[in-house]
């Protein structure tokens, strides 16, 4: 019980930060909203022949991209706390070893809720209309949040092993950027070289995008190999990926936090 309430105190710290430095929240939401508007109009031509237009394909892609970047945000926050010596102070307190890292993932998860809500509103204004039922739309959003939450654990580990907060952000973008573009998020994968197509197809970002498109009632997978498992079962594959990411990074992060000596 203590571990849970300790985590909540740490989470509350992040919410407090948002009220003390509202710029963080503003910039965290402006960027994805800008992406929505830019891509919606610049790439409108990609949606030729698609019912409802490109924005129907775009929104799941841009949602997934945004939650993928949680990894970088978490990593940077964690590395900053390390640099500032805050982690040392937390480690000298009589609290559970998992509380600080769990608290941060929860805080970043809450931030994602706000960001996704704002993006969804922006998308709705420029013509995005999910067509499935409320339940499925809800499940789609839930998957997005869970995916962001799982990646946040990878971010914790990255932040803990890194030496420098400024480097961390760059390194995490080095992974997340190709990950989001080597996928079906913004354009059809069929125009890629054959070898890349396989990568794109198994890329968790692609399976997530496909899963969310499906849950939002849109079945154009934007170019995937027929009958391959990730293409036919995007929801199951995505859930599997999340379990895998958590199974690897939760124990790694908690162990690293316990033994960290920076």
């Amino acid at each position: 019980m203590r571990a849970i309430s300790d985590s909540l105190v740490i989470m509350k710290r992040q919410l407090l930060q948002l009220t003390r430095v509202p710029e963080v929240l503003i910039f965290n939401t402006i960027q994805p909203v800008m992406f929505v508007l830019l891509f919606r109009y610049v790439f409108a031509g990609l949606g030729a022949g698609i019912k409802g237009g490109y924005v129907q394909l775009l929104m799941p892609g841009i949602f997934v991209q945004t939650v993928t970047f949680t990894l970088a945000a978490t990593a940077q926050g964690m590395a900053q706390d390390m640099e500032k010596g805050l982690i040392d102070r937390f480690r000298s307190l009589p609290i559970s070893r998992a509380a600080v890292v769990t608290g941060r993932t929860l805080g970043d998860g809450l931030l994602n809720i706000v960001v996704i809500a704002v993006m969804g509103t922006a998308g709705f204004i420029v013509g995005w209309r999910p067509t499935s039922g409320l339940l499925k739309i809800g499940l789609g959003f839930l998957m997005l949040l869970l995916f962001g939450y799982a990646l946040s654990w990878a971010g914790i580990f990255t932040g803990l092993i890194a030496k420098d907060a400024r480097v961390v952000a760059n390194i995490s973008f080095l992974f997340t950027f190709p990950l989001t573009f080597l996928s079906n998020a913004f354009a059809s994968t069929t125009s890629m070289p054959k070898a890349l197509q396989y990568v794109a197809e198994w890329n968790p970002v692609s399976t997530m995008v496909a899963a969310v498109r499906q849950l939002f009632g849109f079945h154009n997978m934007f170019g995937v190999t027929k009958n391959s498992f990730p293409s036919t079962h995007p929801i199951q594959t995505s859930l599997l990926y999340m379990v895998l990411i958590m199974a690897i990074f939760v124990p790694l992060s908690v162990r690293r936090y316990k033994n960290t000596n920076k």
Binding site: R13, L16, P94
Partner: protein
């Protein structure tokens, strides 16, 4: 009763020829309710010692207890009785002083009401009430350190570790910090303080352990350490023509041969009778019609102690040793 005991601590970083022994069979102890200052240059192992005792770092070998509790076997119970404040203000800079203290209070499992009350109390005690609602990043260096110290006192720890509490502060900030620390000592907390400032150890500590290269090379009170390298000496500056006559007098009073710095026209004589030796010297100089230009009874400073013990000055720059300072990237 000993509140802190460390026995034969060894901690090495790196491998092979790059291996650094940050702690090399280090042993210290602190009597309950007293202040021990660990004094040493950068890289001597001060921070590593504190990190081991504060349960942040496991030593390779050795044994340590804080408040009678084993820091290696039972770190969680140790954390319930200690406070730690490091050389970096380890508080959330985006939050206000108030937010920080309440947060740490909650993490020490105080109720919301108790955490608020304690935050208020500490802010008053450390003269930070006016700044309580401002983000830490608007604080001066001295205010940050005071808030950091306040955060380490939330549970009224039995044992407090302060790692270079005034490093980087301006003289005023340092004086303020000393006042605060002296107040805590008066309240009876057991304090282990590291510093590279000899003056600070002199001012605050009951006992000083001088460490260098991971070893304790001397310990005792400030006075004992000073006596250890020779007690007082008389220093006398006279006109050049009087130099040899004055030396004869100085030799007689010191009962030994004085040293002369001809360039400065300074005669230096070790003495054992303190003020009386000074009076005798003045009388004899007067009788011989020698007018001293400058005369003083000098006690060795801790700087002299340090020089004589280690063969190098306290502030001497040493090459950066990875992992020895908390900030650098050592790992377990």
């Amino acid at each position: 009763m000993k509140s802190v005991v460390a026995e034969n601590l060894v901690k090495t970083y790196g491998k092979g020829e790059h291996q650094v022994r940050a702690l090399d069979d280090l042993s210290i102890d602190v009597e309950e309710g007293t202040v021990l200052s660990i004094l040493g240059p950068n890289g001597a192992g001060k921070t590593t010692t504190v990190r081991v005792l504060a349960t942040l770092l496991k030593p390779d070998s050795g044994h340590a207890t804080v408040g009678g509790i084993d820091v290696i076997k039972d770190p969680k119970r140790v954390r319930e009785i200690i406070g730690l404040s490091g050389q970096y203000a380890a508080v959330d800079e985006t939050l206000t002083g108030w937010d920080n203290l309440v947060m740490f209070g909650r993490l020490y499992h105080l109720s919301a009401t108790a955490a608020n009350a304690r935050a208020k109390e500490l802010l008053e005690q450390f003269s930070l009430t006016d700044a309580a609602k401002r983000p830490i990043k608007t604080f001066s260096g001295g205010m940050r350190r005071r808030l950091d110290l306040a955060a380490s006192l939330i549970i009224r720890p039995k044992v407090l570790f302060l790692d270079e509490p005034t490093t980087g502060l301006d003289p005023r900030g340092r004086m303020e910090m000393w006042k605060v620390i002296e107040g805590l000592v008066d309240e009876g907390v057991t304090l282990l303080l590291t510093t590279q400032y000899l003056e600070e150890a002199d001012q605050l500590a009951d006992e000083i352990a001088v460490i260098d290269r991971g070893k304790v090379i001397a310990r005792g009170t400030s006075d004992q350490l000073k006596t250890q390298i020779g007690g007082e000496r008389l220093e006398l500056v006279v006109a050049e023509s009087d130099l040899s006559a004055a030396k004869v007098i100085a030799d007689r009073i010191g009962g030994t041969s004085s040293t002369i710095d001809a360039g400065l026209r300074k005669i230096s004589t070790p003495v054992t009778t303190g003020g009386n030796a000074l009076i005798d010297l003045l009388r004899e100089l007067d009788a011989a019609k020698i007018h001293p230009l400058d005369i003083a009874l000098k006690r060795p400073s801790l700087d002299d102690v340090f020089m004589s013990l280690t063969g190098h000055a306290a502030e001497e720059e040493k090459p950066e040793v990875p992992g020895v300072k908390g900030k650098k990237g050592g790992r377990k």
